[in-house]
């Protein structure tokens, strides 16, 4: 399912742009402002910087929620849910795939005893280089978030 959403993002550049542009812009603006306040201001202004960082993180969550909703609606529009829910895919796996990116799925794929139709494979079984690509976006967020947090003090 993660691969499915990766294919979807790849096939729609406006969505990818929309998903990355605004959070990046806000992170840059608020990050620099927070850093400025942290370096040049009193204790009160430092607290204000933390508040700004919170606003920034809220935007990340907001965009994440937007992306999740869009992916869900995409399934509805494509009338694909009927096909999805007659596969061994469990609802929680589907919800997780909408929300989470598996950091390194490769070990899960090689667990002995997994056979055709094993529902546990459906979420984590990625290969063919797709995993590396799908990781790039969350890694970018992780790095940006880390940087923003440090900037905010």
């Amino acid at each position: 399912m993660l691969l499915r959403y990766l294919y979807l993002l790849r096939s729609s550049w406006p969505r990818t742009l929309e998903l990355t542009y605004w959070p990046t812009l806000q992170m840059l603006i608020w990050g620099f402002m927070s850093q400025f306040l942290y370096a040049n201001s009193s204790y009160v202004f430092r607290a204000f910087g933390v508040l700004l960082a919170a606003v920034m993180l809220w935007d990340v969550l907001f965009r994440g929620q937007l992306g999740l909703s869009m992916s869900f609606l995409e399934e509805m529009w494509a009338r694909n849910l009927g096909h999805l829910f007659v596969t061994p895919l469990r609802p929680y796996e589907w919800v997780l795939s909408l929300a989470v990116d598996e950091p390194d799925p490769r070990p899960a794929r090689h667990v002995a005893g997994r056979t055709a139709g094993d529902p546990a494979l459906s979420l984590f079984d990625l290969c063919d280089g797709a995993a590396a690509s799908s990781r790039s976006l969350p890694c970018c967020w992780s790095w940006a978030g880390h940087w923003a947090w440090r900037s905010a003090g």
Binding site: M1, L3, R4, Y7, L8, S11, S12, E74, E75, A78, R79, N80, G82, H83, L84, F85, V86, T87, P88, L89, R90, R114, T115, A116, G117, D118, P119, L121, S122, D125, L126
Partner: protein, 278 residues
Amino acid sequence: MLRNDGAMQRCTSLRGGRSPPVMRHIGAMVELAVKVENLVKHYSGTVAVDGISFAVGRGVTAALLGGNGAGKTTTLSILLGLLLPTAGQVQVLGEDMLRHRYRVLPRMNFSSPFVDLPHRLTVRQNLLIYARLYGLPSRGERIERLAEDLQIGEFLERPAGKLSAGQKTRVALAKALLNEPELLLLDEPTASLDPDTGDWVRSYLEDYRARTGATILMASHNMGEVERLCSDVMMMKAGRIVDRGSPEALIDRYGRTNLEEVFLHIARGSRTELEPVS
């Protein structure tokens, strides 16, 4: 037109080298693929399925026939576990569908022209995702073989939303056959197809059942298709099974010349005195 070379070998290898499916099914001729008892489904006051009972043996092609709103699609949806019944028991491939749905789902599949694949993804991407969801080994190889069998190779790299109705149906069939299902549920498998493509799909389904010994349960409005493919027909009306038998038996029973006339006879209420059969 159909290419069946090495088909049996393919089946055996796909199922991990066990005995060929045809032999397994012949050995298990008395086993039931589907068993439904007193199935009831209400939609906020509307009775969609009204206490039907039936069983379908393994290796059989059966059909649910009936007018619009007769309860065919609801019955199929319950068999797939997409809907919960209001009351009744459903056993699929020997498992209780309400309790052990995930044991059965890898062994069955479904195709309908009314359920689509994501439009923006290419046919190959779509098939690859479903192959992963079914946890198939050697997915690429399996997709290539199906593409060859169903003649979809030329548009594997095309987005699913840009296919014609006939192409979409063949792709949906490829998706439904990815896991080589023991039970294949089809909702109007040849709806909106031209006669040539429709005939081709019917031939492929006949061949698939003969090759694998799979059970096929379909809902259809195409009487010619049902006469040709099915050995067991259940006539539904207002959520009930009002008659059942082979196409020949039904035609004889109603003194008609073909199944379409039998269908019209029942649908127009000429046989309202019929008690539901189980």
